[in-house]
C-alpha cells in the first residue's frame, strides 16, 4: 500500500492506493486491473487500465472516466471531460525532501516566464531598485507582447536573459533580492 497526498485546486486529498487481491474462478468479482483506493477515509474499488501511453481509464461503480495525464510544472495535469485539474502529488519521501529544500530558500525570488516567447525589451538593469508592479522586461509571443513585472519591491540581483533571447515556459528571467 502506498500513501499519497494529492492537492488539486487548493484542496488536499489523502489517498491510499493498493492493488486489489485477485479472486479465483471464472466469475471473479475483481479484475487484474482493480485497485482498492481509500480517499479521505472513504474506500472505493477502482478498475483502472492504461489507455495508450498518456491516459488511464477508470471505472468506479459503473461510472467511466478517461483521465489524460501530462507532466506540468508543479506535478501532473489530469484532464477529465476536457477540463484540466492541476495535481501536485506527494508521497512521504518527496514530501520530506520538499520541506528540506524549502528551508534553504533565502530572501531571493526568481521571476520566471509563464509561457515561451522572445525577449523584445529589457526595462531594468542589474542593481536597480524596483517596486512591486514595475516592468522588468517585455516578452513577445504570437504577435502579443507581455510586460513581466516585479512581484514585490526589491533589487534586481541578476538579469539572466538579454534582448532577443528566446525563453521557455518556467525559465528564470531575473532574480530579485
Amino acid at each position: 500500500m502506498t500513501f499519497y497526498e494529492v492537492s488539486v485546486g487548493g484542496r488536499n486529498y489523502k489517498i491510499e492506493a493498493e492493488r486489489a487481491p485477485q479472486a479465483e474462478g471464472p466469475q471473479r468479482a475483481t479484475n487484474q486491473s482493480d485497485w482498492k483506493i481509500r480517499i479521505d477515509s472513504r474506500e472505493i474499488l477502482v478498475d483502472c487500465v492504461p489507455v495508450g501511453s498518456q491516459s488511464l481509464s477508470l471505472v468506479v461503480n459503473g461510472k467511466s472516466f478517461e483521465a489524460r495525464i501530462e507532466r506540468s510544472q508543479d506535478g501532473v495535469r489530469v484532464l477529465i471531460h476536457g477540463i484540466p485539474y492541476e495535481c501536485s502529488v506527494r508521497d512521504p519521501r518527496s514530501l520530506r525532501s520538499r520541506k528540506s529544500a524549502g528551508q534553504h530558500e533565502s530572501g531571493e525570488q526568481k521571476v520566471t516566464a509563464s509561457m515561451p516567447g522572445k525577449v523584445v525589451r529589457v526595462l531594468a538593469r542589474a542593481g536597480d531598485s524596483i517596486v512591486a508592479g514595475q516592468g522588468i522586461l517585455v516578452i513577445e509571443a504570437m504577435k502579443m507582447q507581455n510586460e513581466v513585472r516585479a512581484p514585490r519591491d526589491g533589487t534586481v540581483k541578476n538579469l539572466i536573459v538579454r534582448e532577443g533571447a528566446a525563453v521557455n515556459a518556467g525559465e528564470v528571467l531575473a532574480i530579485l533580492d
Partner: protein, 504 residues
Amino acid sequence: MRKLFNKILIANRGEIAVRLVRACHELGITAVAVYSEVDRSALHVLKADEAYAIGPPPAAESYLHIERILDAAKRSGAEAIHPGYGFLSENAAFARACRDAHVKFIGPSPESIELMGSKTRARQEMEKAKVPFVPGSSRGLASLDEARELAARFGYPVMLKAAAGGGGKGMRLVVNESELSSALETARSEAKRAFGDDEVYLEKAITNPRHVEMQILADEHGNCVYLGERECSIQRRHQKVLEESPSPALTPEMRRSMGETAVRAAKAAGYANAGTIEFLLDSSGNFYFLEMNTRLQVEHPVTELVTGLDLVHLQIRIAAGEQLPFAQEDLKLRGHAIECRVYAEDPENNFFPSPGRITSLNEPVGPGIRLDSGIYEGWNVPMEYDALLAKLVAYGKSREGTVGTLKRAVDEYVVGGVRTNLSLFRRILDDPDFVAGKTDTGYLGRLKFGGGEENGDDEQMAAVAAAIWSALNPANGKNQQVESFTSSPTSSAWKRTARTEALS
C-alpha cells in the same frame, strides 16, 4: 474533368495552408508549399507535394516577402498562387507582382483590393452604389444648431467624434438633446487639446451592434451571387472567436436585402472571386457597411456547410476563368453551422499566447463535425505567428442540435502540452444568452468566465488518477518544487504588435 491548373503555390501556413493543399489534391492539382525556417516540419509542408524554404522565421522575411514567394513560384513552375488569409492576401502590390510575373493570383484584381483598402475611396464608391453607412455628418459640424438638426434627423443616441481623432479622445455619447450642447463643447476642447484641431462630426450611435457579414462570390464574367451571412459578434480584442451561419438575428427578408446590398457593393468595386462585406447590424434590424474583406475568410467553413459548396474549389475555378456554375435562385441555405477558433492561449492566464510542443492530441470526429486543423502530435507550435491551431465546426439541422454537437466535440477535444481556449467554448455553449442567440460585440466582455468549470466528482477522480499514475510510474513522484514567481500578464500589459497579419 478539365485540369484547372497543374500546380498552385500556397503562400500561407497553418490550418488554412493545409486546407488549401487539400483542395488542390481534391481537384487533382499539385500543391506547392512555402515555409519559413521554423516551419520546416509544419503540417502544410508535410501534406504538400512540393515545398520551398523562403527565409527566416519573422513573417517580413518569409511569408510577407513577395520576391521570395514569387521566386518559389518560378522555381516550382506554379501557374497560380493562393494567398489564404492574412499575410499577403490583401496586399495589392503582391497581386500586381503576381500579374507581372504571369502567375494567376487567386483573388480579386489589385485594383479592387486597392479600392476597398482605401476607406475614403471605398466610401465614395459604396455610397454611389447605395450601400448604407452609419448616418453621420461626414464632415465637421458648423454649429450647435447643425448638430441639433442632424441628431434629430438620425435619432438619439448619437456619437460625437473628433475628425482628426482616434483612441476615444474627443468622443462623446449623447443620449438626448439636453446633453448635446455641453457634450459638443467638451468634445471640441478635448479634440483641440489632443489633436490641435477642434473639428467634430456627429454619427448615429449604434449601441450593442451585431457584427454580421455577407459572403459573395463573383466570377470574371460579371456574375455575382451572395452565399448568406455569418454572425461574428463574439469577439475578444477585435479578434473573432466563434462564428455561425445563419445569424439568429436575420429574417429571410433581411438576408435578401443584405445580400443584394453586398452584391451591389461587389459589382461597384469591379470585384471578382470570393469576398466578404462586413456590416454592423443594430437592434432594429438596420445594417451599415463597415468594410470589405477582399479574400477568403477564416470562418468560410460555416458558409460551406450551410450552402453545400466548397468555396476554395470555386475560387480556383473562377481564377481559371470559369463562370459561376449556379445562379442566385439555385442557392438555398440548409441547417446551421457554428465554428470555434481554437487558439493556443491560456484562458486562465488572460488568454496569454501559449506556443510549445503538442505532447498529446485527440481530435474530435464523428457526425456533424468538420475539423480544419494545422497541428499534429509532436509538433512544436512556433511563437512567431498567430495562435490559431484549428477550427472546429459543427453543423446540423437546427441551431439547438448544432450547439449540442459542438459541445460534444469540444468535450472530446484534447490538446496537451500547450494551453488552448477550449474551455471558453464550453462556457459560451452553456450560456443561456448564447443559446438564445443573444449575442453582440459586447457579449464576450460581459461573459463571466474563469475557472468554476471543475466538477467535484471529476476532481476527486483526477486526484485518484494522479495517485495511481504515481504508483505506476514512481519516477514521477520526484518533482522538485522551488518557490518561484511566474509572471502573470494583465490585460493592459498586452497589445497586438501588428495589424499586418490580423485576421477577421
